[in-house]
């Protein structure tokens, strides 16, 4: 067989052309535009002033703060609930695929449509959630219209919609654990708790690491669910603004693409850094 087959490039051509035009070029262009000012049709060189601008913009810091808070709260909580549910389905329940199918539903459905539904469930006056909270004599906050609640509402919705993916992946991983481990553990009279912490959890570490990365990256890109929950706004008085919201706003609404691209570059670097940090961490855990 020939080792250098030029025709391979022919088969790869469509992919390489599209990837160059719509993945590689836009990355370089984003860096370039972040150093330019003006409108889309009239860009001029400006150096690092866009970066200076965003670092002095309180709205940018609010967006970053919200995004990081969202990631730091929703990811671990969502992951913990997912592990609990996947483990219960896997170890206790007969109709595994029934529950798996049920829990996966939010993954395939439109965030916008479900966000609209949540807007009614979260409604302060006639919403189902507050009705239940009042029945239980718990405080019933105004989830949508109170700026102080925006982020919490986004986090709850984020956890709800994130469970689907996590549970399905964890179920796949649980099925891959050698059943002999459990058989042997039973022979030695291990308790359910022992089996979970000594067999299941260590076996799940790579999957959890993977989910952590995916969830954190996903959290940094949060946009659509905020848009859906607050009817196109970033919460009351922009209280729930996120990094992508900020970028969209600066790009499309305010018309300062340079500023938007500077924010994009920062977001991009944060995501890369988070991925890198998390991989390092997981390697350390893996070594121990």
């Amino acid at each position: 067989m020939k080792t250098n087959q030029k025709k391979a490039w022919l088969f790869l051509a469509p992919t390489i052309i599209f990837v160059t035009l719509f993945s590689i070029y836009p990355i370089l262009r984003a860096f370039g535009m972040s150093l330019q000012k003006g409108s889309l049709i009239d860009l001029t060189w400006t150096g690092f002033s866009n970066y200076q601008y965003i670092f002095h913009d309180p709205e940018f810091w609010l967006a970053i703060k919200n995004t990081i808070l969202y990631a730091v709260i929703s990811v671990p909580v969502g992951l913990a609930i997912s592990i609990m549910l996947a483990w219960i389905i896997f170890s206790k329940v007969k109709h595994k695929s029934f529950f798996e199918t049920t829990f996966f539903m939010p993954y395939v459905t439109s965030t916008i449509a479900i966000g609209i539904v949540f807007r009614y469930i979260f409604n302060g006056d006639y919403g189902m959630l507050n009705f239940i909270l009042r029945c239980l004599h718990l405080p019933a906050p105004d989830w949508i219209d109170d700026p102080a609640m925006s982020l919490i509402t986004i986090i709850i919705f984020g956890i709800w919609s994130g469970l689907a993916f996590n549970i399905v992946i964890l179920m796949g991983a649980l099925r891959n654990i050698d059943p002999n481990f459990y058989t042997i553990a039973d022979m030695y009279g291990a308790s359910g708790k022992d089996k979970f912490w000594r067999i299941t959890m260590p076996e799940l570490v790579p999957t959890i690491a993977f989910l952590l990365t995916m969830n954190i990256i996903g959290a940094f890109k949060i946009y659509t669910s905020v848009y859906a929950l607050f009817n196109g706004q970033a919460g009351v008085g922009n209280s729930g603004t996120t990094a992508v919201f900020y970028i969209y706003n600066k790009f499309q609404i305010v018309g300062t693409p340079g500023v938007a691209m500077a924010a994009t570059v920062v977001l991009f670097l944060i995501i890369l850094f988070a991925t890198f940090l998390q991989r390092k961490m997981m390697k350390k855990i893996g070594e121990n």
Binding site: S23, A113, I114
Partner: protein, 274 residues
């Protein structure tokens, strides 16, 4: 024994509570779309409407061109799926079966591009599409998504599991690469291609940010953008918003219930590879 029972009971309780939390919004959406306006905003909340207001759906179609949104969405999701599947198929074939200089570099570049968040490049892509004069066109809607590194990578794992000797035997029998792809590779990995197609179609159906950027004419909007505009236009007509949301979710949900095995397996398989 008794302690164990309580544990099981408790587990079931947790499971059912979360199952209800997961399913409830869907049920509420379906039922709410059939309520009268008073019922959707009453205190205590109504769950089962007294009278099914099917006319809500007629009103939704009368107030916004949902038929058009459907058409646009089906068209763009199908084109993206078919073309990107085709391009990924060819690319994956080359990466698995052909030997050429620079293969390693191509692989590394593609894999590292997988790490780039779509949101970081979507705005510059908008710029490109605008320069090409393709705003508010179907081509503009689909162009950046006509190939998928993700699906190509996924198909590579499928094709890699087909023995190399089959390819060699086909070559000895005088088959061309093109014939090998269509007569052997595609039939042998039908399941994988189908699953990838389903996942691609679903994500096309649910896409939001890109069509929001590149379209602003009502006739070119996709379902989700149409829906979100409709939701703000319909204002307080909660029952219509829920009916419209049902229209958006139901087709995919039906598709999901028919092919749930393939869809779930596809997602799991994708990701266990990391």
């Amino acid at each position: 024994m008794k302690k164990l029972r309580w544990g099981v009971l408790f587990s079931y309780l947790i499971l059912f509570i979360f199952a209800i939390i997961t399913v409830f919004p869907f049920i509420y959406m379906l039922l709410g779309g059939l309520m009268s306006f008073q019922e959707t905003t009453s205190i205590p909340p109504t769950l089962i409407p007294h009278h099914f207001e099917w006319s809500n759906y007629a009103k939704v179609f009368a107030q916004a061109p949902f038929a058009r949104y459907f058409f646009n969405t089906v068209l763009t999701a199908s084109i993206t799926t078919i073309v990107s599947l085709f391009n990924s198929l060819l690319g994956a074939f080359a990466m698995v079966n052909l030997h050429f200089k620079g293969k390693g570099i191509v692989q590394i570049v593609l894999l590292s591009l997988l790490m780039v968040p779509g949101e970081a490049i979507i705005f510059t892509n908008y710029n490109t599409i605008a320069h090409m004069g393709l705003l508010n066109t179907y081509i503009g809607l689909v162009l950046p998504f006509l190939t998928s590194i993700f699906y190509m990578y996924y198909l590579q794992s499928y094709f890699g599991s087909i023995s190399e000797t089959i390819y060699k035997a086909a070559m000895i029998d005088g088959a061309s690469d093109w014939e090998y792809i269509w007569k052997i590779l595609v039939p042998m990995s039908k399941g994988g291609l189908f699953t990838v197609g389903l996942l691609s179609f679903i994500s096309g159906w649910n896409s939001f940010l890109w069509p929001l950027l590149v379209t602003n004419e009502d006739t070119m909007r996709l379902l989700n953008n149409g829906l979100s505009t409709f939701a703000s236009d319909a204002g307080s007509e909660t029952q219509l918003q829920l009916a419209a949301a049902t229209l958006t979710v139901l087709p995919i949900l039906i598709l999901y219930f028919i092919f749930r095995k393939q869809i779930i397996q596809g997602v799991v398989r994708n990701d266990l590879k990391g």
